[in-house]
Symmetry: C2
Subunit: 507 residues, 2 copies
């Protein structure tokens, strides 16, 4: 794309990807930073995307037998200390409640008062607080499996934050399940990862790699962590969801015990899994372009905008009547299980202003209607996946079919495009020098730009993983489930390796 | 009701209403106390009721033009201090975050560290934090009205807590709107109160009084607070929702200003309104009986349970096949806009155990199916609003119509019953002695039991309001919108009064 071409977003991706991301969010009015350290405000268009994510995932969780519940936001310090690795992972960045009131300080201000006997942590994740309930709920194998999900806000005192990708407070869901056997718990862990992968593919149009995290990248306290990883347009990886097999670690920490079929008291096996508002960041960075947000139709808050065009009051009422009729025609249409929504933008703005407004917001289809269209009983339709000025004339009689068909096509195209991009930027590398070159920036102005995903051999030694991280800021994103067993040499130390893993720079 | 009759809940309402309430929650498995001070765990059946409340209200908010968004959970102390009355109202009971990490204390434990330069309050309500965003979003009359809603968790450090009715953390929605004129803001305040009243009537089967709060009962910082008030079965009032006209108080505190149509910069007019998980408490206390939870069908998480009855393996497979077929028959049925859900309970429990399990959970209809029913192509249906052992034979061909019709009838009956109860227990009282007698306990074992709602004259003086509160623990619940102007004498001081107000004991 030429830099001279007019775009709605400045800078464009190839000029400054990080800043482009912020500008897309601003142009689509998705979210903004607040004055509260690291906390964001999610604005209506951004929140509507989150609601769609919730709706789709919630249905999938229900189908797989899970029920929603709600647990306290505060975790007593003593709970938090029960699992040693867990506390190490979260203690360094957490919000601690120490007082229960404010009092007048005698100088016209307020001071904290009512010190608590035990500090409370604002949940950074809920294994320990939910575990305390589960210990009460479970007493026999008959109570198992226990399959619970929670939609909640979470606080992690992150130092460097970025809208949606990393914020001090974020919204998420956390599944927590209890099982009578290791095998059943492991099966659940995989099943929910597959739910995430399917959701990413089918709704977000996001191809994801599924695999196992290395020891150093796994969830604090887990036995195994599995993940979905997606490639963004700057070729960096974004961890988009994780599913943890917790073994008996948290059952022991929280005393989740049950009488087994053999009549013995045993510790249960637990899992946890979550995705967050980070998915909105993934969505933006995977699909959006230099004109702003691009939304796969199955996750878009709205799908069609009708823009009436007129020059006189008489034309206005005529065009509006026609526009309302078209809106009615489109009402109730569905794209598979997703309702298709239509906006009518009659704001006192120019045609061009209204068009660009909706281009930047990523609405999939824009329909222009003027007096000439009424005469021909047709309308001009523009697609968000084409050039902004590209328009097709569609007869009103054929419009409903066109809308459903085109949205479906766009959904598939976005997925295919993202998949092709990942395929084009993932290569097998067996040579250490080539590996280092692959991850060395091409462009000094954008030090983050590099080759993409390297599929390379790794001996399994964390020292090699560490060295590559130190040298290149590149980490092992996952050991893919579909990695084939093949003898090779570690990309770092050259020692024997059994399989390839995915190396990438990551958010 | 005779005390000798067997009931599922002990104690029954007339023995100990407060304890009965806790036992209903336990028997229906709705929620439980956690080890975190004053915080509850909302269990799946209770949370599903909340999800239904959310779903119905959310649709009503959308219809009235509101959009959902999400704002930070933390409020900087300096924001909180901006509105003087507001901070007085909430500072005494709030969770204060003062630190951002935990460190090893050298004794095997953890200590708080990373003290913040400014303490953060966990939101007890969000006027000040949302106001900070609104100040940025609003600059012209063209940006108004701004109609926003937030679904969120809230923390108020309450000293005496009770499940759903009063908890340190609770879930709620808070609407926040900005308008260019006082008239428009006042209209919004009334409109949303009417949305609450309609929701209470149509979904919760809860008749509510609508009216204005007195000066002493209004929201800290509001100009006027309006409320919906419901009568519980112990004849106490429960404030079930409030809508506040905030005047320009919060606009001034947060600097929400706009350029008016006349080109002048003016402070905007704001409103806020909310309902919470407290509604679940209202639901329980208004309808439930001595056999447990009673759920109006339009808010019930599930509506029908099929209980297969059999004596042999052969009968089992035959009955299960028939039961599955009936479940399929009922699939997709709707009660107005509400989907009707059916459970199939094939657990290894006795017929009686399964029946009582669902009676206590308040499922509206129970369908028993045995070999004899199959032979007759019919089933036995029991209604939650009849005696537990009352059953009606219904032909399978007529079952769908019966289910929809009966659920609709039950919904109306519950409303009528609650309305009759309130009518029977609300009286006009003009005599001071009678008023005091009305609010004096009948039964020394249950000091809370009294006459109900007194519709009495009040002069408007807060001293009279205060005296009645001190003497009887009775407050003015509201000045009803439909109170007629009639000359009278204040029930307390005997001075001239223009209208009657509702006095009651309250939760």
């Amino acid at each position: 794309m030429s830099k001279n071409k007019q775009t709605a977003i400045t800078p464009i991706r190839e000029e400054n990807y990080a800043e482009w991301y912020q500008q897309v969010i601003k142009a689509a009015d998705l979210a903004e930073n607040s004055d509260v350290r690291g906390c964001m405000v999610i604005k209506p268009w951004g929140y509507a995307i989150w609601e769609n994510i919730q709706k789709a995932l919630d249905a999938m969780f229900r189908e797989t037998g899970h029920r929603n519940a709600y647990f306290p936001i505060f975790i007593p310090k003593s709970y938090f200390e029960k699992e040693a690795e867990h506390v190490e992972g979260f203690a360094k960045e957490c919000a601690v409640v120490t007082h229960s009131k404010l009092e007048h300080d005698g100088k016209g201000g307020l001071k904290v008062a009512g010190e608590l006997t035990e500090p409370y942590i604002v949940r950074p994740t809920s294994e320990t607080i939910i575990g305390a309930s589960f210990a009460k709920w479970v007493s026999s194998y008959r109570d198992l499996p226990l399959l619970i999900n929670q939609w909640a806000n979470i606080v992690r005192w992150e130092m460097r934050t970025r809208l949606f990708l990393r914020t001090a407070e974020f919204l998420w869901q956390e599944g927590h399940t209890v099982h009578e056997s290791e095998a059943e718990a492991r099966e659940e862990t995989f099943k929910m990862l597959e739910v995430y992968a399917r959701f990413a593919r089918e709704y977000l149009a996001l191809p994801v790699l599924t695999g196992t995290k290395t020891e150093s990248e796994k969830f604090p306290g887990a036995v195994d962590t599995y993940c979905i990883e997606a490639m963004m347009q700057d070729k960096k990886a974004l961890q988009s969801g994780t599913s943890h097999f917790l073994g008996q670690n948290f059952a022991k920490a929280s005393q989740i015990k049950f009488q087994s079929r053999k009549g013995e008291v045993e510790y249960a096996w637990t899992t946890s899994w979550g995705v967050s508002t980070r998915l909105i960041g993934a969505l933006i960075m995977a699909h959006s372009d230099d004109n702003g947000l691009v939304l796969p139709p199955r996750i878009a808050p709205s799908h069609v905008v009708i823009i009436p065009i007129y020059r006189s009051d008489e034309e206005h009422s005529q065009v509006m009547e026609f526009a309302e009729r078209i809106k009615q025609t489109l009402k109730g249409l569905k794209l598979d299980d997703v309702m298709i929504w239509t906006e009518l933008d009659d704001r006192d703005l120019t045609n061009s202003e209204r068009n660009w407004y909706w281009v930047k917001k990523g609405i999939p289809l824009r329909i222009e209607i003027g007096p000439r269209d009424i005469a021909q009983n047709s309308c001009m339709v523009a697609r968000r996946d084409k050039e902004p000025r590209d328009k097709t004339s569609v007869a009103i009689d054929a419009l409903s079919a066109y809308v459903v068909q085109t949205l479906s096509e766009m959904q598939n195209n976005y997925y295919q495009k993202a998949l092709d991009f990942r395929t084009d930027n993932t290569i097998n590398i067996d040579d250490n020098k080539e590996f280092y070159r692959f991850f060395t920036p091409r462009n000094s102005e954008q030090p983050e730009i590099h080759g993409g995903f390297a599929n390379s051999h790794w001996c399994g030694d964390s020292a090699c993983e560490e060295k590559i991280k130190d040298d290149l800021k590149v980490s092992i994103r996952c050991i893919p489930f579909d990695a084939v067993e093949e003898p090779g040499k570690c990309i770092c130390c050259g020692k024997y390796s059994q399989k390839r893993v995915i190396f990438a720079k990551a958010y």
